[in-house]
């Protein structure tokens, strides 16, 4: 691999921005105090954490005291979903509404689906809403699913595999009408597109640092003032008693910096979209029988999901890897899984086509040359693999 390495898997994770790393540096072994300690030395750590909280809040148009830090997007989802669910079991006063019914969608990330499945095993009822062929939530089905017992709707902002952006504003109107909390997993949108919590109208919103050039192992949950939830990680009184554990000060500082940078780089989406569309056009032109799951318009700027008929996803991935191009087939969390993507299946794509999927996700470091390179090597890879395929001969 002497040539330039081309990373096209930014939805899986991103490199930390140099400015982020630089911001974190002093907090490892210079300003290492525990933010909760009482001496002056520790107040520097505390101030750093609070400044980061302000930066996260600013990006979301929230108040700092509406943000709690977590160890990532997965934990933020767990805190939100289990926290609201369990508030209904425990003696929490002023819970918005009591009940045991949760609504989510069929295309959520495992970090939402698995907590929901677990709650089912604990006696909660969960409805999984369908999506159309573009991956857009069925609003009618959602409306019909809401009952007196519904306490929470959790629908992702944008899907990690196909990039489709969900109609969050409409869903939040429905949630408000029925006095139900609304959580959105915005792990794929924060830092990439607008995530103004008031415009979105959400009560809870999860984000993860490493998806937008922040550090791994840190995330946050926005909790609209007044939203009642019980703690998930129990321990000391950190983070308003909602998330115990010594603060990951460097990580939190890095997350704050990533949020600040995201605001500076708001124009970036345009570049990503241009490159993504170039890739799309090139594949369209050069490779027959490819389908493009995901909404044609309402979609993350950098995401291009494709299904290359008659060729299995992993095979393409490995061949691209040998050309120094990193992409994913489905999501990283599901890699090695034998099941075709639950997202593609929910969108009505047949199993064997879903097995042919590949995801390109572009980022800050990508260039026109990167796309040119992909468009040079990828058609040959497909041609070669189709030769091996028993379906290939039918064309």
């Amino acid at each position: 691999m002497n040539e330039k390495f081309i990373y096209l898997d930014h939805n899986a994770t991103t490199p930390a921005d140099l400015r982020v790393i630089e911001a974190m540096r002093p907090y490892f072994n210079e300003l290492y105090g525990n933010p909760l300690s009482l001496y002056k030395f520790a107040s520097k750590s505390r101030e750093a954490v609070e400044l980061a909280r302000e930066k996260v809040a600013k990006l979301l148009n929230a108040e700092p005291n509406e943000i709690i830090f977590t160890s990532g997007g997965t934990e933020a989802n767990n805190v939100a979903i289990k926290g609201v669910a369990h508030a209904n079991l425990t003696a929490v006063r002023q819970v918005k509404k009591r009940g045991n019914h949760i609504i989510t969608s069929k295309i959520e990330h495992p970090a939402v689906l698995k907590p929901c499945k677990w709650l089912e095993s604990q006696g909660f009822k969960v409805t999984y809403i369908s999506v159309d062929k573009y991956g857009v939530i069925d609003l009618d089905e959602l409306r019909d699913a809401i009952t007196d017992k519904t306490i929470l709707i959790s629908i992702m902002h944008a899907n990690n595999e196909v990039g489709t952006i969900e109609p969050i504003e409409e869903i939040s109107r429905l949630a408000k009408e029925h006095n139900v909390y609304f959580h959105t997993d915005a792990v794929q949108t924060v830092g990439k597109t607008s995530t103004n919590v008031d415009e979105l109208g959400v009560d809870l919103l999860s984000l993860s640092g490493h998806k937008f050039y922040g550090p791994k192992g840190v995330g946050a949950l926005y909790i609209r003032r007044g939203t009642k939830l019980v703690p998930f990680v129990h321990g000391g009184g950190h983070e308003r008693n909602l998330r115990a554990g010594t603060h990951n000060v460097p990580g939190i500082v890095g997350l704050g910096k990533a949020c600040e940078i995201a605001e500076l780089e708001r124009e970036e989406a345009k570049k990503l979209k241009r490159l993504r569309d170039k890739l799309y056009q090139g594949i369209m032109d050069k490779i027959p029988e490819v389908i493009f799951p995901g909404h044609p318009e309402n979609r993350l700027a950098g995401t291009l999901s494709i299904c290359v008929k008659y060729v299995e996803g992993e095979s393409m991935l490995i061949n691209l890897d040998f050309e120094g191009i990193a992409v994913s087939s489905g999501s990283a969390c599901a890699s090695g899984s034998l099941e075709p993507s639950h997202v593609l299946l929910a969108m009505g794509i047949p199993r064997e086509v879903a097995h042919s999927s590949l995801r390109f996700s572009l980022g800050r470091d990508n260039t026109d040359e990167d796309i040119d390179k992909v468009l040079t090597v990828f058609p040959n890879i497909v041609k070669k693999l189709r030769k091996i395929s028993p379906f290939g001969k039918h064309r």
Partner: protein, 127 residues
């Protein structure tokens, strides 16, 4: 879980031997993995009870392609009866190992050769 393939797997995956279709084959095996739904087609040519040629087409992961490829190498030149005894273990060994999650892909190749030989034997009987 992410996967670790041996060099041998990768080599066979990148340069698979005996890819294709045999016109007028003596036996055809078409099998689908019950685990992942992937598909293999194997064509064999038999002369004097010896497999003289084999070609495959596989829709499957890298492990499945490599298993198919090495399988054809193993069976070409072998008596039908012996080829029938080939297990997925033998294929895995020839590949220098497979990740646990990918053992079923070698079973696909085992099923492929069994199915092709059975087809050959069925047709041979009829003749």
């Amino acid at each position: 879980m992410a996967l670790e393939y041996t060099d041998k797997v990768i080599e066979h995956f990148r340069n698979p031997r005996n890819v294709g279709v045999i016109e007028n084959p003596d036996g055809i095996g078409k099998v689908t993995s019950p685990i992942c739904g992937d598909i293999m087609e194997l064509y064999i040519k038999v002369k004097d009870n010896i497999i003289v040629d084999a070609k495959f087409q596989t829709f499957g992961c890298a492990a499945a392609v490599a298993s198919s490829s090495i399988l054809t190498e193993i069976i070409i030149g072998k008596p039908v009866k012996e080829a029938l005894k080939i297990t997925n273990k033998r294929i895995v060994k020839a590949l220098g190992g497979l990740p646990k999650e990918k053992l079923h892909c070698s079973v696909l190749a085992e099923d492929g050769v069994k199915s092709a030989i059975e087809d050959y034997l069925r047709k041979a009987k009829r003749r």
